[in-house]
């Protein structure tokens, strides 16, 4: 504000970058000094993955304005293709960090392709119909990965559906084992890798939103007919946002999967999609910082509630309902507005 005058959006974007970096540095310092518990340590990578998932879904729901109930499907695509790529590249690339990058890039690419293909028919629909079709695609992807067998041997990759017909040569290895999922995944995901992915995601999303394309996407969200009448190609911009969102989810899925030794398709079901949607809605539509905080807080919350043992998911549900009731309550909103001097003025004007 002193030398360079930044507008409100840019300031907020830099604030988001800054907070992510600060959070990363603090957590990294804490874990190197041994101040973090082992539970928190184990949750760092999943938190990063969920944060990226929340930001990418926010692009679809908040910026594009289309409700998607199958976001976990893209995570699944990214996880399975990314891990397969990382395992297949296992011998050729010795460095774990590069294998992680390869995995995430392959995951992102496959998810982007699937997102693009799904987007073409899906984005013709509107509202709840679009929501149900994304749900359906999520379930279809889950069903296919539950019955997919992929093996690798000296002759290359072998893929079969429904039953193991890969007929691997001597020394071959079954990577995806249908309902068993992928076993013996190299645990190469790191917190640093996750934090870098979050930063890359933020850079991509902020640049997209603040570009000409981003403004077109938001114009489509705010008024489709008006946007179309001034010559915006609706399908193109919808597909753009949807594909970017899918690609980021794919990278997150890849990161997520390589934090565990085994991963099954049922992990990425309807409930996971809903979980991420909850992050987005609680964080605020179109608000990336909100998504990050909500994703991190709600991933930690069930763990923090562990002292309630059996009651923790019940408490989680009640907290969820109460937060939604409170944030939509006029008395409560007015009460909160008192603490925001900047916003108060605005409300008085309107």
């Amino acid at each position: 504000m002193k030398s360079i005058r930044l507008n409100k959006t840019t300031r907020k974007n830099y604030l988001t970058y800054g907070l992510v970096i600060v959070a990363y540095v603090i957590l990294q310092l804490m874990s190197s000094s041994g101040a973090t518990t082992s539970t928190l340590q184990g949750m760092l990578v999943p938190i990063c993955a969920y944060v990226v998932m929340a930001i990418s879904l926010n692009l679809t729901v908040g910026i594009l304005g289309e409700l998607s109930l199958g976001h976990a499907g893209f995570m699944s695509v990214g996880a399975f293709t990314g891990v397969t790529a990382a395992i297949a590249a296992g011998n050729a690339i010795p460095s774990a960090a590069i294998r992680l990058i390869v995995g995430m890039v392959v995951g992102a690419l496959f998810a982007a392709v699937i997102g693009f293909l799904i987007g073409i028919p899906v984005l013709r629909l509107r509202g709840d119909y679009l929501a149900i079709v994304t749900l359906a695609f999520g379930e279809i992807i889950k069903g296919i990965f539950n019955n997919l067998f992929v093996g690798i041997d000296s002759r290359g990759l072998h893929i079969s559906l429904l039953s193991d017909k890969t007929n691997l040569a001597e020394g071959g290895k079954l990577i995806i084992g249908g309902p068993m999922g992928i076993g013996s995944i190299p645990k190469i995901s790191t917190f640093t890798g996750g934090a870098i992915l979050i930063m890359i995601t933020l850079i991509i999303v902020f640049h997209l939103v603040n570009s000409r394309a981003g403004r077109a996407i938001m114009a489509v969200r705010d008024n489709r007919i008006a946007a179309e009448s001034i010559g915006i190609n609706i399908t193109k911009y919808k597909l753009m946002a949807f594909t970017v969102s899918a690609a980021l989810a794919g990278a997150a899925g890849s990161l997520f999967a390589m934090n565990y030794t085994t991963i099954v398709a049922n992990k990425f079901d309807f409930n996971t999609s809903i979980l991420i949607l909850v992050f987005v809605v609680l964080g605020g539509l179109g608000n990336m910082l909100g998504s990050i905080i909500a994703a991190a807080a709600l991933t930690i919350l069930p763990e923090a509630l562990r002292q309630f043992s059996d009651y923790r998911m019940l408490v989680y549900a009640i907290v969820l309902i109460l937060v939604m009731l409170a944030t939509n309550n006029d008395t409560f909103k007015a009460f909160l507005a008192k603490f925001k001097p900047g916003k108060k003025k605005k409300e008085e004007v309107s």
Binding site: L67, G143, L285, L314, Y316, L320
Partner: protein, 293 residues
């Protein structure tokens, strides 16, 4: 004969989906919200009936009635506590609340009734009807499910078209503000819709568990999603649509299981749904609303 037997079991499964979908579609029509907790109301209904008949040795009919009563009250309470304060809130806020309610019911059931699967006692007498000299056998549950669905369907059609309350319901779903000006008790009507939907969910729960007798706290989740799909399939908000959508979904599922692959039956069902929606974007019997600029 195999084809006929698959068809009948498809219609039977479809009838159960249709009964659940009716609850979804009525609530959607009037409150314009996707009630994700609906699937879990099914589960609660099934548990109530299970405890009434197997623990307290009540006759099955009393068990079913008890389940219907409890679920009806549950539906009204859920609507009053969680959804009513959010009438004016954004659609997504209501959706998340409904999801929260669904988590709540599942976890409450987990605490109350534990995660051990319960074997649901047959509410409908076990036995089979043999036709064509034993070539075609139909179990009683199948017949009861189909009959139940037809009776419910007819009763609902009569209710919404002939009675004052039913007309109020249709008026509210078309225009709440105008209905209020005409002296219709909008809140009461919405509560009534939730009550009917939840009562139907209880019946569906009992039928579902009689046909597939394993009962766990997540029993309602998948049928809930399928029925929701069925409601959209037929055109959400339309009562005959939910009926047609449910029946077709059941038939497709059973045929996919029988002729293509058991594991891939769910993906096939959803793929058919997508194709139908691409051809008819508002569902089979949904109203195609033309946009005016």
């Amino acid at each position: 004969m195999a084809f006929l037997s698959f068809l009948i079991s498809g219609i039977s499964l479809g009838s159960i989906y249709a009964i659940i979908a009716l609850g979804y579609t009525m609530v959607y029509g009037i409150a314009k919200m996707l009630n994700f907790a609906h699937g879990d109301v099914i589960m609660v209904g099934a548990y109530i009936c299970f405890y009434a008949t197997s623990r307290f040795q009540l006759p099955p009919l009393v068990g079913i009635l008890l389940a219907v009563v409890v679920c009806t009250i549950l539906g009204i309470v859920i609507e009053r506590l969680a959804y009513k304060p959010l009438r004016a809130a954004p659609v997504l806020a209501v959706l998340i609340t409904a999801i929260g309610m669904s988590y709540f019911l599942q976890n409450a059931a987990l605490l109350l009734w534990s995660s051990n699967p319960k074997v649901f006692p047959p509410v409908v007498p076990t036995g089979k009807i043999s036709l064509f000299g034993g070539q075609l056998t139909i179990s009683y549950v199948t017949v009861v499910a189909i009959l139940c669905c037809i009776v419910i369907m007819l009763a609902l059609t009569w209710f919404t078209s002939k009675t004052k309350m039913g007309k109020a319901m249709r008026a509210c779903s078309e225009d709440k503000g105008a209905s209020q000006l005409m002296g219709i008790n909008v809140n009461g009507t919405i509560s009534l819709t939730f009550a009917i939907g939840s009562g139907l969910a209880a019946i569906a729960g009992v039928l579902l568990c009689s046909a597939y007798p394993t009962l766990v706290p997540t029993t309602g989740a998948m049928p809930g999603i399928k029925a929701f799909t069925a409601a959209v399939f037929g055109g959400i908000g339309s009562i005959p649509g939910a009926f047609v959508g449910g029946i077709l979904l059941g038939i497709i599922e059973i045929f996919a299981k029988a002729y293509i692959s058991t594991q891939l039956s769910d993906p096939i069902v959803f793929a058919v749904l997508i194709i139908v929606l691409l051809v008819r974007p508002a569902g089979l019997l949904g109203k195609q609303i033309r946009e005016k600029v």
